[in-house]
Amino acid sequence: MIKTTIIIFVLFFLAFCGFVVYDLTTAKRRKEVYRVKSSATAYLLLLPSVVLAFLFIMLPILYSLGYAFTDYYLLDPDNIKFILFDNFKELFEEISEKGMLYNAIKNTATFVIGVVPLQIILALLLDLFVNRPGFGSKIFKVCFFAPVVISLSVTAFLWQQILAPGEGGLLNSMLSVFGVPPHDWLRDPNTAMPCIIVLSAWQGCGYQMLIFLSGLSNIRKDLYEASSLDGANWWNKFWLVTWPGLRSTFVYILITVFIGACRIMTQPMLMTGYQEHTVTLSYYMYQVGYKDYWVGTSTAVALLMTIFIGGITLIQRRAFREK
């Protein structure tokens, strides 16, 4: 593995050096003396970043790309064979047999469909709520942002206490006041994922609220004054002034929330464990790679997931492109 790394590193480095030499000799041939000196300095300064980017970004990507076509078994790393598309074939078989991967895709889709709109709408509502001068707006901002800085494992634990089965659970004990019998929220396949969606939206919306707030600050105040003079009500102002002004912020939030949602793992892992009704793609990837030791299969899932997320992100960008 180290030898391969060195070969890749040397190839990459030679390519970088070749590019530098080509650029500098071209500049020299054109007698651009100033550019030769400035470019040389720039390349030298760039070098540490390029090396770091190669080691910590490029190399893992290249390796995981390569492993997707191997039978890499974590307990036997010295014996890796190329098996071409066997991993992908196995994954598609598992989907067709409605195995765990099928559930992972289904649950991830459910989560994304649930959490993306919920989190964005919550963030927008909170943003409109706190973006008013008056007493308490700063306190509310801090309160709404607080869940973002709390560790996911801590919030998952807190919500486990809220959703605990039996009469001891906070939610169950509150509902019992209205005569609702205790429910096992996280074991019931119908309620487990909605609970995780609500928890995730609650935790994440504070961050999006801040981004929306910065977007709101860019909307000119005179537009609101003009619309008031034209007799616009609250809804007209929101729909015709605020929303168009937040469009680019919205696209950014939509894409980041979507990507984040596709990668969900911690909440189901801590709250339910590896279960059919809550397993997600990232969790499946972790389980297969680290618990069952099949790194090859796991990286094949990662590759498919990257292609899928990349594809959807491109579609989103195109769909919301400024005309």
Binding site: I2, F9, L24, A40, Y43, L75, P165, G166
Partner: protein, 442 residues
């Protein structure tokens, strides 16, 4: 300009060269240079590295360190020195296992590692462990309650043994008028008698038993609950560990799981029992291992009045008696050291009767060696666990796909009440079979 260009390229090449050389150094496994040292008399001392799964500052970690110090003192003149590495399981057993596999990839695997016994087959099959069958004499092997064997070969020796049972609150039992003195490790109660006691406890107004049905995110539930399946005459895989279909989903296996399900349906147990409910007198019985004894002796002594306020009942039997066994073990690894002489010396020292006693004194578990076991008073909690281990201890399934077994078992317990048991067992048997085939075909 030309000189400038040459100097830039020279710097780049020099950097590349130095980086490559640093990387090449990694080929030695990062440990080659640390394999030997020269002592003050100029003699070569072989370094043997041993990796533990606990924190150095924990009671167990300190016990290991003391034994390592004792080894170094004893072997000072024999040219061997042990070096302990502590990698605490901060993220559960899987985190430690990830560390092990990373070390293997990096070539920095310690000479001896500690590992969870059910992983013997998977580790041995992958070549992680060294076959020590010929290095440990047969008479020494006989001194252990259990051995880490796979395909007839010895791959590890246990650090300590474990046995689980039903801790019960004697005060609650007395108040409910329940006499369980006849149920001993030598004469375990039956499934029906167990249900009867649960019914009487329920009638008394307490939750009958905490079966730890909530502990399905790690190895706790499989470890505590698998004996019920063996007791009902079921199993999980064939003798050779290669077939799951027909075993995991057999009628007898289903009967074992059904027994647990019946307890839930009857309201004797549930997954919503609080972690301290037994210790605070809300639950009559609590399924747990020997590690609960120090907790009851120290943390909750007041709650039970005295040590006489609680006891341990054995696992109930049906077709046969079966109880939980297995703990962590030592193994010599297949690392870059071809000569295992020094590692074998350390392994023998760490598994000696003295070491066994020293470590179990710290952990409260049962010593791995028969000759290290203390004379417990008949009827005492420790006696019940020890006798049960001797008479009905049955290890978890030996299979190369143990991690998948553990996952599928947890899923069964998790879904016990929401799914049809027959369908669930069929799908879990298929899942395990698929994984076994995949590992074997590799």
């Amino acid at each position: 300009m030309k000189r400038f260009l040459i100097s830039i390229i020279s710097i780049i090449l020099l950097l590349a060269l130095s980086l490559s050389m640093t990387a090449c150094g990694g080929d030695n496994g990062g440990g080659e240079g640390d394999d030997f040292e020269i002592d003050e008399n100029g003699n070569v001392v072989t370094i043997v590295k041993i990796m533990f799964h606990v924190d150095k500052k924990s009671t167990e970690g300190q016990a290991y360190q003391k034994r390592i110090n004792a080894f170094n003192a004893e072997y000072k003149d024999k040219g061997i020195k042990a070096q302990a590495i502590f990698k605490a399981r901060t993220t559960g057993a899987s985190g430690y296992e990830t560390e092990l596999t990373n070390n293997k990839i990096e070539g920095t695997l310690a000479d001896i590692i500690t590992f969870d016994a059910p992983n013997t087959a998977a580790y041995a099959n992958s070549g992680l462990l060294y076959d020590i069958s010929s290095l440990i004499p047969a008479e020494d092997q006989e001194k252990f309650f259990s051995l880490n064997k796979y395909n007839g070969k010895l791959y590890g020796l246990p650090i300590q043994e474990s046995s689980a049972g039903f801790f019960y609150n004697k005060n609650i039992f007395r108040a409910a008028g329940i006499d369980v003195s006849a149920y001993t490790a030598e004469n375990p109660w039956t499934f029906e008698q167990f249900k009867d006691v649960c019914a009487r406890l329920k009638a008394h107004g307490v939750t009958a038993v905490d079966m730890r049905l909530d502990a399905t995110k790690d190895e706790t539930a499989p470890y505590l609950l698998y004996p019920f399946i063996y007791a009902a005459g079921g199993s999980f895989v064939s003798e050779d560990g290669l077939t799951a279909e027909g075993y995991y989903n057999s009628a007898a296996t289903q009967k074992g799981f059904q027994f647990i399900k019946d307890l839930v349906n009857a309201g004797y147990t549930s997954n919503s029992i609080g972690p301290t409910d037994f210790f605070t007198g809300k639950v009559g019985m609590y399924l747990s291992s020997g590690w609960t004894i120090p907790e009851l002796d120290n943390k909750y002594r007041e709650n039970f009045g005295s040590r006489d306020g609680w006891g341990i009942l054995p696992y109930p039997k049906d077709v046969t008696a079966a109880s939980a066994t297995g703990s962590w073990s030592y193994a010599i690894t297949n690392n870059h050291h071809a000569d295992k002489t020094a590692a074998v010396e350390l392994l023998k020292f760490m598994t000696s009767a003295e070491s066994s006693r020293a470590i179990t004194d710290a952990t409260g578990m049962i010593p791995a060696r028969k000759d290290a076991v203390k004379d417990y008073a008949a009827g005492s909690p420790e006696y019940t666990l020890l006798k049960q281990l001797e008479l009905s201890g049955k290890e978890r399934p030996v299979t190369v796909a143990y991690p998948t077994f553990s996952t599928t078992f947890n899923q069964i317990i998790y879904r016990l009440n929401n799914t049809n048991l027959t369908d669930l067992l069929n799908s879990q048997a298929r899942e395990l079979q698929k994984e076994i085939d995949k590992v074997k075909d590799r």
